[in-house]
Symmetry: C2
Subunit: 297 residues, 2 copies
Amino acid sequence: MPVLECVPNISEGRDLAAIRRIADAVAATPGVRLLDVHSDATHHRSVFTIIGTAAALRAAVLALFEATLAVVDLAAHHGAHPRIGAVDVVPFVPLAGATMAEAIAAARETAAGVAERFGVPVFLYERAATRPERHALQDVRRGQFEGLHAKLRRPEWQPDYGPPVPHPRLGAVAIGARDFLVAYNINLATARLDVATRIARVVRESSGGLPCVKAMGLALPDRGIVQVSMNLTDIEQTSLATVFEVVSREAARDDVDVVESEVVGLVPGRALVEAAARHLRLPRFGADRVLDTHLGS
Amino acid sequence: MPVLECVPNISEGRDLAAIRRIADAVAATPGVRLLDVHSDATHHRSVFTIIGTAAALRAAVLALFEATLAVVDLAAHHGAHPRIGAVDVVPFVPLAGATMAEAIAAARETAAGVAERFGVPVFLYERAATRPERHALQDVRRGQFEGLHAKLRRPEWQPDYGPPVPHPRLGAVAIGARDFLVAYNINLATARLDVATRIARVVRESSGGLPCVKAMGLALPDRGIVQVSMNLTDIEQTSLATVFEVVSREAARDDVDVVESEVVGLVPGRALVEAAARHLRLPRFGADRVLDTHLGS
């Protein structure tokens, strides 16, 4: 049975009891494994990493919506991370033995189920998108929750499923299919947001930086520091080790140190190979030397 | 079907055409995959990493013996690494889905086949050993090829299979079963063997060092440097990152730098987690955050 990964992001990163309740609802769904819950108070956001078959994941996402509806009210939500929904984004990712077509089918079936049961508008995005202008998540999310009423009145932003009005507590949701990505953040020992913003511009592909890197600068006011928050969409093209090196070097130009970095959710073992090889000074060492690479399929 | 790893070590690390011929014989065996061949001219030794079922690996080991017999004459062999045979040691290791009992059975069946077909004395070692004094490979190998005639005359060193005299070209062989281990070497920028020997003593468990670490100091005269050559028998107990740190620190006490390190064969992905986390300054990051950990079984 092909296994997919599903990585719902919800707009609640502070109320740990609420997050626990949602996690329990997911974990209680037969046939899925909840591998990780990553909550960030500044982003005001939690990321769940779940694996299972398409049918089991669909049931887990419905359970996640039900629990989120009970405890999260997006109308009262303010955080550092852009969002359109209490359950903001639900990507499906094919793992070993699964195809992108299966991930797309899972996204669409889940979208239909969510719209029917909760009356929430759903946009299909990235590989599951029905129109090219909905491929990029940032376009789907542009205007955020606050701009959703106006956006849903435009003919080109009619939802793929559900009504053309925001749900009062849930907002809307983007459900899609994509390749594996690594959500990777680097925290910098400065309160200067301009440093993080400049470095984000240097590293992100869209402004001529590193291939397959999306990046934005964020303030973490509770800690008095800033963060370069990134998605690495192809770690064969640009590895965590390369990103860490470039961000460290750019920060040094402003006399700023790296405090730490952070991976959200899970990474494939091959994502760690280059960083480990640099740390251990292992020349000529690649993913083919990692046993897991050969046992997967 | 349970999959085992088999890691034959042969006493030929210089004649690349001969090594290629042996590798081709192994790779041509139906049902096995030859994942890596690591040759070391100073050790005068090559390590083959093969995976497959017990029956397929037995056939691959017989093919390896046949090819080695054609091209390697142990009587003419001198290298930095201790050895008793042209095919020196053949460990079987259980991988995901296999048990140690299956690895032990594979070792014994292979040992019987090798002795019958090539007339070579075989000692079963470690988990496949038939007597406690044959558990440790260094005891089986003590006296090396040159001491084999005398050793095989002692009642307590009668081989488990094959005749009680060395094969003129092949010597003897140790065939066994063991848990996964990581063969890990660190090269130091000095010609002083005493530095490598002292550090080996500091890190190895048997002299009060790090848990589950075996170590010896070797000279690499071709390169004018020395090596701390190690086996890490439980990377949960002592990781590559810890070993690298301790060896680097000890070398610094003698004003010696680490040139590089080296992994022989393959490592499980979890072996790289700690080193990668240190390089990327990832706090609170463990093997549970690596996707492969959860997909294996």
